[in-house]
């Protein structure tokens, strides 16, 4: 891989990652802000609760989405070592979700 193509690959990745992070933060912040205002105005309501839960879940999913996009970018650049490393990170994130489920079943 030449210096030039290596650089443009890393710039494409930075751009893709930036787009995912910005979208996730904007969507979750919007849900959380509307949810907070809604619950202050109407009190405890199903809509407010749904908005807050959605905002939190979108926030938690944003780094996961960033990891998935990174894997896709490394695969399309045929950068196998980093595709593998980033896949390990995704597996670790999934392991956390599994651990949370197991804790709940037991306790």
């Amino acid at each position: 891989m030449t210096e030039r193509s290596a650089r443009s690959a890393s710039q494409r990745l930075e751009h893709a990652v930036g787009v995912v992070l910005r979208a996730g933060v904007t969507a979750s912040s919007a849900c959380l802000a509307v949810g907070v205002v809604w619950s202050l105005v109407t009190g405890e309501s199903g809509v407010a609760r749904l908005l807050l839960q959605t905002g939190i879940i979108v926030l938690l999913m944003t780094p996961v989405a960033r990891v998935i996009v990174s894997i896709a970018q490394y695969v399309s650049d045929r950068d196998w070592p980093f595709a593998a490393l980033t896949t390990i990170v995704l597996v670790e994130l999934l392991a956390s979700a599994v651990a949370a489920l197991l804790f709940n079943k037991k306790l």
């Binding site: 202050l40 807050l52 780094p63």
Partner: protein, 278 residues
């Protein structure tokens, strides 16, 4: 016991979020190192509830700060992705451990971590960034970025990779145990021992802590220890605060940042020991 969610509590937490977010941005941290002690020591939240709220703000700060920086080559993506394997693994184990140990242990651990980092920062006040020949080869994991302040291109190679990996694992572990980003552990080590300039180390760490915090936050969330309404106001406050802090961050001197950071950490450490020792 979790306090009931009221408008006044929401306002207090929002304000705490603004303060810790702006301090965090000035210091190159996620802000959790201030928010956790405030929620736990001042407001009396259970440590796990404080950590859960803080971790969600860490994710938000990491994501928005890194989105703003993407494209400036300050974030070392390859190094970040490599070290994330260690931080996420450490965070996963820390999140499980936090469910199994007593609050007083977590508080004393927080005190130890805060004091260690404060000492590291104070001993490194005069340290200069490593600036190599801009034509040098940064290697696979190194980086190159343009620094506005000095008007120079900074090029660096990563040294002692096993040290960086080990530090990242410990930082990830501490992150989800204590509800902080973990940057306070990684950044000094990456800077002092691994040859990474402070700004690149801070940007790369800020990029990584979103993934790190998620591995822990998912466990707290799944366990029902994350109150969405309180996390929401904390996240919004921290977002506002870090946006404000970022505007002054590049103008502030690194030396004074370090002194301020160390002082705050000593105070936090003493308070955590006082509470955890009871």
């Amino acid at each position: 016991m979790m306090p009931a969610v009221t408008a006044s509590l929401a306002t207090i937490i929002f304000t705490a979020g603004v303060v810790s977010g702006s301090l965090g941005a000035l210091l190159g941290l996620g802000g959790g190192v201030f928010l956790v002690p405030f929620l736990n020591l001042v407001l009396g939240f259970p440590f796990t509830a404080a950590a859960a709220i803080s971790l969600t703000t860490v994710i938000a700060t990491s994501s928005s700060v890194s989105a703003g920086r993407a494209g400036k080559q300050l974030i070392n993506m390859k190094l970040g992705m490599l070290l994330e394997v260690a931080t996420a693994g450490g965070s996963f184990l820390g999140g499980i451990t936090a469910q199994l140990v007593a609050q007083s242990i977590l508080q004393r651990l927080f005190g130890v971590v805060a004091a260690i980092v404060a000492v590291i920062m104070l001993t490194r006040l005069r340290r200069r960034n490593v600036i190599l020949d801009p034509r040098a080869d940064p290697g696979v994991l190194g980086g190159r970025y343009y620094e506005d302040e000095s008007g120079t291109t900074v090029t660096y190679r990563v040294k002692r990779l096993p040290v960086a990996v080990t530090a990242s694992f410990i930082a990830g572990n501490v992150s989800s145990l204590l509800g902080i980003g973990g940057g306070i552990i990684k950044v000094p080590i990456l800077n002092a021992w691994c040859g990474i300039p402070l700004r690149a180390a801070a940007a790369t760490s800020a990029f990584m802590i979103g993934v790190t915090a998620t591995a822990g936050a998912v466990i707290y969330y799944g366990r029902g220890q994350l109150e969405p309404a309180l996390a929401a106001v904390a996240v919004l406050g921290v977002q506002l605060g870090s946006w404000g802090g970022m505007r002054f961050g590049s103008a502030a001197s690194v030396k004074w940042l370090k002194i301020l950071m160390a002082l705050v950490l000593f105070i936090v450490s003493a308070m955590m020991f006082a509470r955890g020792g009871r």
